[in-house]
């Protein structure tokens, strides 16, 4: 297999409130001999909120981010479900609408850039599954996760709307019964926990204006994982992670449930890194508010 190279769009959260996500992504890529070129020029994707305010501006900014991946001649990988949604949605809209693409390029040309549409945009999860391959990943496992019951929490924007994701990923995830994370857990020799809320919403996007709604959704997911004997949860989305990890106590309080034990919530690359033999320091496990016993 030739060496895999991608342009990494980190998103904002991995640079700020989840530094462990960027750290563990880089550690895992190194272990797997995948080259990640950081897109330091990139801006925020708008996280679906800028889109509520100024749709055209969000298109221009997301197109600019893709331009930098194109400049490197690389496909872009994301490590946040919401970044993935907004970036891929921009790409699809521009690629399917030459008039809109021209309007966006008119702005980009003012700063010497042109969006062409030559880079694919995928979440790191699907790049790993589709390009690296689960069988190859399995061969790299040095610390099998066989002692762990792991509850996958998929996060909305990696599975819905399915038409969008089927457009960018060869893996045709069924949003009502997603399997990619489960298969990845099995490849790491962990026990994937099947539970009803694995494909539900954590409520992150209304944390500020509707904290009760957000807490109810987060709490319900954690309670469901607990009731199905999960030792740990794992998510490919740092926004889901913030709700499940940082807001865990508040969410359970709103739900009216006591936690028999705190539920550690790992980022996807942290879980992979554990199985590949990365150290807790390399994976930034000390950055979790809900402690990860290692």
């Amino acid at each position: 297999m030739s060496k895999l190279r991608y342009a990494l769009y980190t998103g904002c959260t991995a640079r700020e409130s989840t530094p462990e996500l960027l750290k563990s992504t880089l550690a895992v890529a190194k272990k797997l001999d995948i080259e990640l070129v950081l897109l330091d020029e990139a801006s925020c994707c708008g996280a679906s909120h800028l889109q509520d305010f100024d749709d055209f501006l969000s298109l221009v900014l997301n197109a600019r981010n893709i331009c930098y991946a194109e400049k490197h001649g690389l496909d872009m990988v994301t490590i946040c479900n919401t970044c993935q949604l907004n970036t891929s949605m921009t790409k699809l809209r521009l690629d399917e609408n030459p008039e809109l693409k021209a309007k966006v390029n008119e702005k980009l040309e003012e700063v010497g850039l042109v969006y062409q549409g030559t880079s694919n945009v995928r979440h790191f999860l699907y790049a790993l599954i589709e390009d690296y391959g689960l069988n190859n990943l399995r061969k790299k496992v040095v610390k099998p996760l066989s002692e762990l019951n792991i509850a996958p929490f998929y996060g909305c924007h990696n599975i819905r709307p399915s038409e969008l994701h089927h457009h960018f990923n060869r893996s045709k995830e069924n949003p009502y019964n997603p399997t990619s994370l489960d298969e990845l857990i099995e490849a790491l020799e962990g026990n994937s926990v099947d539970y009803e809320h694995k494909n539900k919403c954590c409520g992150f996007h209304v944390d500020l204006q509707a904290p009760k709604t957000s807490n109810m959704l987060t709490g319900t997911a954690i309670a469901d994982a607990l009731d199905n004997n999960a030792d740990v949860m794992v998510t490919p989305c740092p926004l889901c992670h913030l709700n499940l990890d940082v807001k865990q106590k508040a969410a359970m309080k709103t739900l009216g449930r006591d936690l028999p034990y705190p539920m550690p919530v790992l980022h996807l690359p942290q879980l992979i890194g554990l199985a590949l033999g990365c150290t807790p320091e390399e994976l930034g496990l000390k950055h979790h508010v809900t402690e990860v016993p290692v």
Partner: protein, 318 residues
């Protein structure tokens, strides 16, 4: 082709708890889910109850859930269900907590919320018009097929916010509001936008989970309309300064300043004095190295480009 069906059964008049009937059945792959519902009633239990009417995907009455997926029973082919989920299928009503009998749910809350947005055209029409009040084709396109909604409730009952917030109007009502706010003949645009702008019941409480878009059997994309309503709220000057609107605007301000978000400042800008309630949480995060101090705030490389693009590409003022 053989399937094993788990069918939800409950009679609000006689049952304390619901149960599931397990039925094995040979089906023709060309069958739709409604054919299966009919056979359950005709061949297994005549008391089995469900709604159906048009048989052509336009009345919306036969909506049920198959393995958690909202669907119009008369439209959904069994072969597609089996391809998605295999040969073991669970058939349930669209909302178990609203069940009257088996697949029949009480849609009173749905209709009440639907009416809140005034689902009719408010136009000044002469009492004795001499011609039709027509809409030009290019204007009709802006409705983006929103008038194809059949009020089946699939999006509403798939929405997680509806389940935890009784005030929330839900995607079907928002989709219908957009149907008229996007119609050039309508005179009640601002009034409708004010209704959907209210925190608690309005569009700001949407969690952006895309369940509604996934569930809609007519592919109308309710969340796309919700986003359009957000845009119109700003464009029409209806937006009030509150935590939700400042949150949206804060993204632009933060990107303009740093390229990437200043997460801490965004929360403070959105919340105003209310930010104080986040202090305990912030302290926990600070102890774990999850808060970037203002003097260490990272910025995007080539920030001047971003600043220029924000300046020349912004289409909305607030």
């Amino acid at each position: 082709m053989k399937v094993t069906l788990k069918v939800f059964r409950f009679n609000a008049e006689t049952d304390y708890l619901p149960h599931y009937d397990t039925i094995e059945m040979s089906i023709d792959p060309r069958d739709v889910v409604l054919d299966v519902l009919n056979r359950i009633k005709w061949e297994h239990d005549g008391s089995f109850t469900y709604r159906r009417s048009c048989r052509h995907g336009i009345c919306g009455s036969c909506a049920v859930k198959v393995n958690g997926r909202s669907t119009l029973a008369c439209k959904e082919r069994m072969v597609d269900m089996i391809e998605l989920f295999g040969n073991e299928l669970t058939i349930e009503p669209v909302s178990k907590k609203r069940v009257i009998k088996d697949m029949v749910v009480d849609k009173a809350d749905f209709w009440k919320k639907y009416e809140t947005v005034k689902p009719w055209l408010e136009a000044k029409i002469d009492e004795h018009p001499t011609m039709e009040n027509i809409i030009p084709p290019e204007e009709a396109e802006k409705l983006e097929e929103s008038d194809y909604c059949i009020q089946c409730g699939c999006c509403y009952y798939a929405c997680p916010v509806v389940e935890v917030n009784e005030e929330y109007l839900g995607p079907a009502a928002f989709e219908k509001a957009y149907r008229f706010t996007a119609d050039v003949r309508d005179y009640a645009k601002k009034e409708r936008l004010e209704i959907v702008d209210i925190l608690g019941q309005g569009v700001w409480d949407c969690v952006k989970c895309y369940e509604c878009a996934q569930a809609c059997p007519k592919h109308i994309d309710p969340i796309g309309k919700i986003t359009k309503l957000h845009n119109q709220i700003f464009e029409e000057g209806v937006a009030k300064s509150n935590v939700a609107t400042r949150h949206a605007v804060g993204f632009k301000k933060s990107i303009e300043k740093h390229g990437i978000l200043d997460e801490g400042h965004l929360v403070a800008y959105s919340e105003g004095i209310g930010v104080l309630k986040h202090v305990p949480e912030a302290l926990e995060m600070f102890k774990k190295g999850k808060i970037v101090m203002p003097w260490n705030m990272p910025k995007s490389k080539n920030l001047d480009e971003i600043k220029k693009l924000v300046k020349i590409s912004s289409t909305v003022k607030f």
